[in-house]
């Protein structure tokens, strides 16, 4: 069902929802950008619609709400381990179509892939999604080519058009918060883009033999293995365990998981010092082929959702979409080598 709201009306909805939900959305942090005098847009709790940034892309993705940067797995003392208390409040996440599709990828890994992740399940079961329609694509977006531009599975949508908020509600739970404050009801179709300035083409014949191509070599020197691409990616899900002990009682502490990056040193290092993929180009190959090939082999659809954040954040101006567009050349190269 569709609803229309004035700014005052939608804020009444948000204050009503805030009674039950923690509401997370992209928010502006003035002056907090990576460079001086630049702003940062990232996820945080919001309390009014004016807090939500519609006209810019968030630097980090909404995954941090479902997969916190650090998360306590258990507390330990000398002779016991205990689980943290489950989260008590439900959550609403404002997110775009690409990020909503990314949640499906997170679900595939954390709810599927043989074992279900207890902590992800706890948060996921108490989360609802508010789609932010996209009336235009940002310069680095390529959702259309990754087939993530058409949103599916949201609980409600929100679009700001000519000073009016339009909401398509698919959740009975949320409907009750909307009805009293709407100016009128009517059909609402959330905005979505049908073309993007950045285009990618992943070749049909892409296979793991692309690893043998020379296209990866340039990243040996261009990449600095900082991992920003992974941390900003809405579909990267790797983590590392970290044990810490309290200073006042070193025998007690907690085990946490923290985000990890396959681009950063130490990702594959085992006791004794051995590891895989020393060259940064090899790490790039590992990441790119996961996003464009390996995940699909396992799950039937591409991992990359085309949000373009990795291109936005790379300090070396390495373009992931640019690399995807080299895969055809890579396949031609390795197939040509085979024929020789």
């Amino acid at each position: 069902m569709g609803y229309y709201f004035s700014p005052e009306g939608i804020n009444k909805v948000i204050s009503g929802l805030s009674e039950k939900y923690d509401i997370f959305a992209p928010k502006l942090f003035p002056g907090k950008g990576a460079f001086s005098d630049t702003d940062l847009v990232r996820y945080d709790r919001i309390s009014a619609i004016e807090d939500v940034v519609f006209h810019m892309k968030s630097r980090f993705s909404p995954k941090e709400v479902l997969l916190p940067l650090t998360q306590t797995l258990f507390y330990y003392t000398e002779d016991s381990v205990s689980e943290p208390r489950p989260p008590v409040r439900d959550r609403l996440i404002f997110l775009r179509s690409c990020d909503l599709h990314a949640v499906r990828r997170l679900d595939a890994i954390y709810l599927g892939n043989v074992f279900e992740d207890h902590y992800y399940r706890q948060l996921r079961d108490h989360t609802k999604f508010v789609l932010m329609g996209c009336s235009r694509a940002f310069s680095t977006c390529f959702c259309v080519d990754m087939e993530t531009n058409i949103p599916t599975g949201y609980d409600m949508s929100i679009d700001l058009i000519d000073g009016e908020y339009r909401v398509d509600c698919r959740s009975k739970d949320l409907e009750d918060f909307l009805v009293p404050h709407s100016t009128r009801q009517g059909e609402v179709v959330p905005c979505h883009v049908t073309e993007t300035p950045t285009r990618v083409h992943i070749p049909e014949n892409l296979s793991s033999s692309a690893a043998g191509s020379s296209i990866w070599k340039e990243y040996d020197s261009r990449c600095i293995a900082c991992g920003r691409c992974n941390f900003s990616c809405p579909t990267c899900t790797c983590f590392t365990m970290q044990d810490l002990s309290y200073t006042d009682n070193p025998k007690a502490g907690e085990r946490r998981r923290v985000w990890a990056s396959c681009m950063v040193d130490g990702f594959t290092e085992v006791a004794g010092g051995a590891g895989c993929r020393k060259a940064y180009g090899e790490r790039m190959r590992f990441k790119v082929l996961h996003k464009a090939l390996d995940f699909k082999k396992r799950n039937g659809y591409q991992m990359c959702v085309g949000c373009g954040r990795c291109d936005d954040v790379c300090p070396e101006y390495i373009s992931f979409s640019g690399c995807l567009n080299k895969l055809e050349e890579a396949m031609e190269e390795v197939n040509g080598n085979d024929k020789k």
Binding site: I109, N113, D117, A211, T240, M241, D243, T268, E282, K297
Partner: protein, 264 residues
């Protein structure tokens, strides 16, 4: 409510069997299904976790053969006395004895690589009728690095065992040479009915597999077991992924027809 795989359980240290200065087998209390080649995450809160292969399966116990080589294993050696260790698992696929039944089985193992195959060797040593033949080529660096000495004495009575060391200066009664040296001399009645298991350091596995392929075994007749960094053991943390395979879920045991396609 789903099972929380991250919270470990306490397991009593029943017995400690030293092999070398830095390699001990810890016999741990455990009741449940487990097969050779699977692994447990051994946990020492404050220091972390390490994935360790099951080197033996008893009645109400499992053996974990641990080399003192890193932060966690170092602490295990410091703390184990009279206590318990935290475990999670078992994880991974492990070996399936049926893959090797009625075959001419060859097991090539190097160093601690003997641990994950110890259960398989013991099985075919105590059920010699289950395989057409069974041979074991095991290599260690020097005589003092040899693990499972008592087992080797038993296995030698029932299987064709070649126990070799890279350097026999300390004890010339041991043959000297890498495990690959003995692969060309293996006798097969019907190479098409051969099956091989190769476990050990990456270079040893690479060259052993190469030598077996040269002998005429196909990739489908060879099984390997991989060792990778793992944080979770349940397909979530991503550290052990190679291509579209997770070593912790789909492995660590891979048929080489699949293993050969996995590129780190």
């Amino acid at each position: 409510m789903t099972k929380n795989e991250y919270v470990p359980f306490l397991s009593e240290v029943l017995e400690v069997i030293p092999h070398t200065d830095i390699e001990y087998t810890f016999r741990m209390s455990y009741v449940g299904d487990v097969r050779p080649g699977q692994f447990f995450e051994v946990s020492i809160p404050r220091y972390g976790e390490a994935p360790i292969s099951v080197s033996g399966i008893g009645n109400g116990s499992i053996d974990l053969t641990i080399r003192r080589v890193g932060k966690v294993t170092n602490e295990i050696f410091e703390q184990y006395k009279g206590t318990s260790l935290y475990l999670r698992g078992p994880y991974g696929n492990g070996f399936n004895t049926e893959d090797y039944q009625d075959k001419e089985l060859v097991i090539v193992a190097g160093g601690t690589g003997v641990s994950p195959v110890r259960g398989i060797i013991t099985y075919f040593a105590s059920h010699t009728e289950k395989a057409v033949s069974a041979a074991l080529i095991a290599g260690f660096k020097t005589p003092k690095d040899i693990l499972f000495r008592e087992d080797f004495a038993l296995w030698k009575k029932r299987l064709n065992v070649i126990l070799t060391v890279d350097d026999n200066t300390a004890d010339p009664t041991f043959p000297q040479g890498l495990v690959t040296k003995y692969i060309p001399g293996l006798e097969f009645k019907d190479i098409k009915n051969a099956a091989a298991i190769v476990v050990g350091p990456p270079a040893m596995m690479r060259f052993s597999v190469k030598a077996l392929l040269e002998r005429g075994l196909s990739e489908e007749q060879i099984w390997i077991s991989h060792e990778r960094k793992m944080c979770c053991g349940i397909g979530k943390c991503g550290h052990c992924r190679i291509g579209d395979a997770y070593v912790c879920l789909d492995g660590p045991v891979f048929n080489y027809s699949r293993g050969s396609t996995l590129l780190d």
